[in-house]
Each structure stands twice: as C-alpha cells, then as structure tokens.
C-alpha cells in the first residue's frame, strides 16, 4: 500500500519532464524549432548513443569522460571536506580563531573559483591537480561556513549538560559538537557538491591534459558542431549531479534521522 503510493508519486514527479520532451519533439517535428539551433529529443538521444558508442572526440567514449570528471570532483571534494569540517568546528568553538580567520575567509570567499584558474595553472600546471584545486575552492567555503554555523547553533545548555556529566573537552568535541553540527555539515556538503560539480565542468572548458572530462567533451562537440552531442552531454551532467545530490540526501536522512 505504502510502496504503491510512493511509486505513483515518483511517476507523477517525472510527468512534467515527459510532457516537456513530447512538446519539444512536436515543435521540432513541425519544423518550428530549427534543428541547427536545437536538435529534437530523438536527435539528442542518437547523439547520446554516439557519445557512448563512438565517443567524442572519436575513441573517447562517454563513460571515460564521466569517470575522469567524477575523479576530479571526488579529489577536490574530499580534500575540501577533510579540511573544512575540522576547521569549521574549531572556528565555531573558538571565538579567537573566528576573529583571526573570519576576515580572511570573508575576503577569499566571494572570489569565484573560476577566477583562480590562471593561478591554479601556474601553480599546478594543466591536469588533475589544478582541476581538483578549482573544485576544492568551490566546495571548501560552503562546507566551512555551514559547519561553523552548525556549531554556533548548538544549544549551549547541551554543552553544560555534557560538562555536568563529566565530559572532557575531547568528549565535548566528539560527542556534542560534531553530532550537533551534522545537520549543517550535511547541508554544506550538499551545497558544496553542487557547486563543485558546476565548477568542474567550467574548469574543464579551459583544457585537460588527458583529453577526458565532460566539460572537455562538450567543448569538443562544439568545435565540430554537434549540438545534439552538446545537449546530450549537458543532460548527462545534470543527471549525474542529481544522482550525487540524491545519494547525499539519503546519507543525510540516515545521519539526521533524530531530527
């Protein structure tokens, strides 16, 4: 009974997308949308098949592009989270550290990650390191700010209660601050992965060494004028982003089931 409702709900959620595709196909078939500006859904699907079977550039199939892009994001993301979460908790805990680092962070944060590309290439060369660095910058600040906010939002009475139960500073850190900040950390991780994924594709527009990456793939498709493959590539990026967010949402629901 419950499963059935959930299934029909999911179908209903996808319904507008089907309607949109149908509408789009009709306009294309009737010749209202010129195919050189926007290929039809069927053409996009064929483009997707070409990306999978032939690759773009030929011999570079889609799944390798995906793997390379995911790897870059993963690398930058993991480094950012490993640094931002402990630092965020420390900043939430210590007013001194907040005073010390706050202004620096406020200055660096508004700089778009893409503005770091020239410096990043200068420092790391073209390749995985510089791409990962760009992702890192995009992911780092949302996780840091959300973590700090999460710690600051913990009810001080919980810290007092822990102290009256003989908690050491270490206990407070691991058993009050971290679990208390988990909901905000998860929010930061989700915002971060979204930004990281967006940043990645843009970062790949500037060039990649191995010749793999979804952004690179799209730019190559543009160079040889295959709008169907451009759009197929865009949709792949969107779907992967959706899947990552969905995965994190599941993790979040599990970790903050006490809410």
């Amino acid at each position: 009974m419950k499963l059935e409702t959930r299934n029909s709900l999911t179908w209903r959620r996808f319904l507008p997308i089907f309607v949109l595709i149908l509408f789009w196909q009709c306009l294309s078939s009737l010749g209202i949308i010129p195919r050189f500006k926007l290929p039809s859904p069927v053409q996009v699907f064929l483009g997707l098949r070409d990306l999978v079977e032939l690759g773009m550039p030929p011999g570079h199939p889609l799944h390798y592009h995906i793997l390379h892009s995911l790897y870059r994001v993963f690398l930058g993301y993991v480094f950012a989270a490993m640094l931002a979460i402990p630092l965020g908790i420390a900043m939430g805990w210590s007013e001194k550290l907040r005073m010390l680092l706050g202004p620096i962070i406020e200055l660096l944060r508004p700089i778009p990650p893409l503005a770091w590309i020239p410096l990043s290439i200068l420092w790391f060369g073209i390749g995985i390191k510089s791409a990962a660095f760009i992702i890192f910058l995009g992911v780092f600040f949302p996780i840091l700010l959300n973590t700090t906010g999460g710690v600051l939002g913990i009810d001080p009475v919980l810290i007092e209660a822990a102290r009256t139960l003989n908690a050491s500073d270490r206990d407070i850190f691991f058993k009050v601050l971290i679990p208390g900040a988990v909901p905000s950390i998860m929010t930061g991780m989700r915002i971060g992965v979204g930004i990281g994924w967006m940043t990645l594709v843009a970062a790949e527009f500037t060039g990649v060494k191995q010749g793999y990456g979804l952004g690179y793939m799209i730019m190559t498709a543009r160079d040889i004028q295959r709008p169907d493959e451009i759009i197929a590539g865009m949709l792949v990026i969107g779907v992967i982003g959706l899947c990552i967010d969905g995965g994190l949402r599941l993790l979040e629901n599990h970790l903050v089931r006490w809410r």
């Binding site: 009810d155 919980l158 822990a162 009256t164 139960l165 003989n166 908690a167 050491s168 679990p179 006490w258």
Partner: protein, 250 residues
C-alpha cells in the same frame, strides 16, 4: 556531610562600578545529607544563578561552596544537574542519553547498557529505549533527564525548575514519581522552583529568597508526614505563610 554555602555573593559587573548588579547577597546555608531542600523566590531573583554557582557552571564573586567539607571550584563530579528544558542530546536515543555520563567515565558498554536498562524499567520508559527525544512527551523527556543524572549516583542532585514547562497533570505525576524515587534512594536534592505548592509538597525544608539583590528571607521546616496530602490543612497553612512572605517582599 552535606552541602554548605558560605557568604556566597554574585555581582555582575557593568561598565562603571555604579552599573554593577548585585544578584546574590551573602547567601549562607547548609543542606544535610539525604535532605530534600527547595529554593523559592520571585522570578529573576537569582535562584537559578545560585544553583549554577553550586553546579560550577558559574562563579561566585565572593564566598564559597563546600561539599563534604571540601571547596567546590568548578564542575564537580560529585554533583549532578537536571535542567528545566531537559537538555537531552537530540541525536542520542533514550538509552544513549541515560548512558552518557557512564560513557564519559569509560565504563564498558555492556555494564552501561545493563545499568541504563534498570533505570529505563524503573522510570517507566520501557519500549522507548531506542527512540530519539523528539518522539518522547515532555514528561518522558524529563524522566530520561532525571535518570541520566541519578545513574551517576551524585552526592547532591541539583534540579533547576525541572517541571516548569510541563502541563499541570504531568507535573503532578512527575512530582509523585520524583518523591517515590527519592524515598527509596534518599538522595540529597537541591530543588529550585517558583512554584510554592510544589516546594511544600516535596521538600523537607524551603528557603525563601528575596528580590534582587537576593538574600535569605527565611528557611521553613516542613514537618509534614509523607506521603503528603496536597490539600491538607497543615500543608495549606505552610503554603499561606510562604506566599505571604513572598508577596510582602515582592
């Protein structure tokens, strides 16, 4: 050996000396071991501040707190505290909340579990041991909070208006429950409340504080037999005396 306060004074300093606020003024009293001792006073009179000083969560400006003859200088493991808003860790289940203090003392998990289960049974929390606080009623939350404190067997149990945010019926139930538990264990309890009825129903002695700067107006002995009748003539008489004292000064 009980708890002893000697000339405890609390001054919140303002920007200039004349802006200083004196909250507590030379508070001097002793609580005997096994005694149920309540503090009542008008709201904002500093009774919570007094409790926080005793708990080591706040510092006295002058005077000292002695427990068993030795001075209390900070958070003291010989004391336990029950907070008004329960202060349960929302990410911990009932049993994990009750276990928290034992966990801090590095008691092995198996022992912790079985000790906590005893409290869960005795406190009528069966079936809720793996629930998170959000799934508990206010009365249950406060029972968890009391269990979390009592499982540590503190020498003094400090309670800061523990029933203030409960509805009347739940509040009466919990008062009866607390007294049953106390009757068995004979903990030394220091109970802060603004509710005179509650204080008269529960306490061996009641200390009445004045408005700020708070000083002790009087300490009443409540020599009523237990179990008590909330509406007995003698209990009404004491209630009237305490209320009169409070309204005269406030």
């Amino acid at each position: 050996m009980g708890l002893e306060l000697s000339q405890v004074t609390k001054i919140y300093s303002g920007r200039k000396p004349e802006e200083n606020v004196r909250v507590l003024d030379r508070i001097d009293f002793q609580i005997r071991k096994g005694e149920f001792f309540s503090i009542v006073g008008p709201s904002g009179c500093g009774k919570t501040t007094l409790l926080r000083i005793i708990a080591g969560l706040d510092q006295a400006s002058e005077g000292k707190v002695l427990l068993g003859g030795s001075e209390v200088t900070g958070i003291d493991e010989r004391m336990g505290m029950v907070f008004q808003e329960y202060a349960l860790f929302p990410w911990r289940t009932t049993i994990q909340n009750i276990e928290m203090g034992l966990e801090m003392m590095k008691i092995p998990k198996k022992e912790r579990r079985s000790a906590a289960m005893e409290y869960i049974r005795a406190f009528g929390l069966d079936g809720f041991e793996n629930r998170f606080p959000k799934a508990l009623s206010g009365g249950m939350k406060q029972r968890v909070s009391i269990a979390r404190t009592l499982i540590m067997n503190p020498e003094v149990v400090l309670m800061d208006e523990p029933f203030a945010s409960l509805d009347n019926q739940t509040r009466n139930d919990l008062q009866n429950f607390l007294i049953r538990v106390w009757d068995k264990r004979k903990d030394t309890v220091l109970f802060v409340t603004h509710n005179v009825d509650e204080a008269v129903y529960l306490s061996d002695r009641i200390m009445v504080l004045s408005e700020r700067p708070s000083e002790i107006l009087e300490i009443f002995d409540i020599n009523l037999p237990r179990p008590r009748d909330r509406t007995s003539r003698r209990s009404n008489k004491i209630r009237k005396k305490v209320l009169e004292l409070l309204s005269r000064k406030g």
